[in-house]
Amino acid sequence: MTVVGKKSFIIMTILIPFLLILLLFVPIMMKYINDKTDSSEMRIAVVDKSHNYGGAFKDNEKYRFELMSGDSMDKTYDIYKKASGRVDAIMVIPEDVLERQQVDLFSEKTLDEATMMYLNQCLTDTLSKAKIASFQDPDLADKIAQSQVNAVIKSKKWNENGEEQEQSTTIASIIGMVLAFLTYTFVLSYGAMIMNSVVEEKTNRIVEVIVSSCKPMELMMGKIIGVGLVGLTQFAIWVVLIGIAMGVMGFMGVGGDVSSSPEAMGMNMPETESTMASMMSAFASINWLSLLGNFVIYFIGGYLLYASLFAGFGSAVDQASDSSQFTMPIILIMMVALYAGIGCMSNPNGPMAVWCSIIPFTSPVVMMVRLPFDVPWWQLLLSIVLLFATALLCIWISARIYRTGILLYGKKRSFKEIVTWIR
């Protein structure tokens, strides 16, 4: 195979795990950089018609509030004009703010989400305190604080020995989705690689030399198996590299940063420490060996199925640019599989998930989503047998198309014509 020797290929193989890890850090980094560099202050004039709640808004390093008495005011726009350059926005607190629970904010520019959230939080806090105070019950604040409940459902499952292990549906879904996506991208990109290689050999006419040295079937299978092994090797390298990188990160304590990232990104997620711990134990509860084993089996099956189709149809075209006619249907089926996989995430044991994970054309992707949720063994077996049977059938059909296709040049072929080659 000429592909593997290319420098770009080797570099990508090694670089992709790092890119993936980098991808995890980029949002955190960007947030950090944004916070550090965005030093511009937001000045907001507060016109307090209620004469009471103007103090709700506290200055900090980003926001500065300037209180104005509200009575004498005519139009807010005139104030803005008068204070031009000094303030960015004007907030008007109405007299009945406690009842209406609403203030008006005027500005020339559209204000960003973070500002709105900060203002909202300030107002909500102050108003709810005022409401609580209005009940004139000194213990009420305490009672309310105590009645705040944050319920947690800890899901545990038994392993073979009846020991309890924590599991996380979210983690399982994510892992399933990642595997499904991996299968999808692997099969599509390696399939396309095969197709390109077939078309290339055909366009530069070397195929005639090659098939005078070996059988077309051997050439096609050699190509498919060769690229497949490249794919598996690449995958193995990634697993090892990501494993090492994760290990190194955990060792250096960078992992803590990762777990705190949801908080950093503005989500309210308490007890990051314990989330991290339960994530870890959920990770540990997954049977990685069978998961990866099944992934490899499905990858091989799905790959053989689609790669042979790519090879077969690739042989029917003269130029790479003509190939879309035949790749479109294949890519469409793969897309259906991917969306079915996403759809099955919410109910991985529902009828759609079960059917799609048994039908050979969608099973390599959909089954990935179901795998972390303990698929019944008979479904797994049926699906694998069907997948490989279909793959063999596709190889057989493609070999027949290939045998004829590679030596025919000239006009564009239709599906109908190709069907006649199979006979």
Binding site: G5, N204, I206, E208, V209, I210, S212, S213, P216, L407
Partner: protein, 300 residues
């Protein structure tokens, strides 16, 4: 002993008959011409001989026995549409294709060195194929065809794309390969090269064999009693009723005459000597080109 015996091969592509009971007998150690106009079925026949496609009926014998898949390691094929992997190095390309034919790597490398030397390509061995000129690529392709010393070499239009100097070198190499024991099947419609190196030919037209035999015999069969006459002095040779007539012709140096039916060359010479001072007379043999055109058109 024939090296290849193609017996009554038929090949049909969706409704179109490409080969209609074609026979071909190539003797061991011959340079054999497979001729025919475009689309006559030459490439179809070649593809059947080197087992790229299969005949619908008929047999192909190699050395007197039915061909098997392993025999293709003993065939070198230079297709008309040349093709090489463009993005890999010359040396890698040659070794790869040689190993596909079953050569062990060290042997492939040492043989390659010899051939590169012979074609002045040694300094190009680490360049990518796409960096080479078209002529050099052709040479590389030729090397990949012959490097495993096959017993049977099939060249489809070997001289196309070569300049006269390189074509001459190629011709010498082909003859040397024959002398070293290879049998060569040579498909072309370049009749000049056929006259120069082929001993025997088969002419295919419209999927059928229309002419077959030794080049010299075929010429004998197609000669038209034409002679080139040279006489001294300015006087023109004129036709003589019942003996010969002058054929207007610009190509020959002298006068072209055609003997009348029943007339003998002896009578013609006597007549010419009587009226002129005869300096020379030689039979004009038809060129393969003329035979080709005549046969193909007469057959159409």
């Amino acid at each position: 002993m024939n090296f290849i015996d193609v017996n009554s091969v038929v090949k049909q592509y969706d409704g179109h008959l490409a080969l209609d009971h074609v026979d071909l007998h190539v003797p061991q150690g011959a340079i054999y011409g497979l001729l025919g106009p475009n689309g006559a079925g030459k490439t179809s026949l070649i593809r059947i001989i080197n087992r790229i496609t299969r005949a619908d009926s008929g047999t192909v014998l190699l050395n007197g026995r039915e061909m098997v898949q392993d025999d293709i390691a003993n065939i070198g094929y230079l297709p008309e549409e040349r093709g090489l992997y463009k993005k890999i190095k010359v040396a890698d390309e040659i070794v790869y294709l040689a190993r596909l034919k079953g050569m062990p790597k060290p042997l492939a490398v040492s043989e390659m060195e010899k051939w590169l030397e012979r074609f002045d390509l040694t300094e190009w061995r680490n360049r990518k194929v796409e960096e080479l000129s078209k002529g050099m690529q052709q040479k590389v392709q030729f090397i990949t065809t012959v490097i495993h010393r096959p017993q049977l070499l099939i060249f489809d239009e070997p001289f196309s794309g070569f300049d006269p100097v390189n074509a001459e070198q190629l011709k010498r190499e082909i003859i040397q390969l024959r002398d070293e024991g290879s049998t060569i099947l040579f498909s072309t419609h370049n009749m000049a090269s056929v006259e120069e190196i082929c001993e025997q030919i088969t002419l295919i037209n419209h999927s059928r064999v229309v002419l077959e035999g030794k080049v010299a015999d075929i010429k004998q069969q197609h000669k038209k009693n034409l002679f080139v006459v040279n006489v001294a002095g300015e006087e023109n040779v004129v036709s003589k009723e019942g003996l010969f007539e002058v054929v207007p012709n610009d190509e020959v140096n002298g006068t072209l005459i055609k003997l009348a039916n029943g007339a003998t060359l002896h009578d013609a010479i006597a007549h010419l000597n009587e009226h002129h001072t005869l300096i020379g007379i030689a039979e004009k043999m038809p060129s393969m080109n003329e035979i080709f055109i005549e046969t193909v058109q007469g057959n159409a």
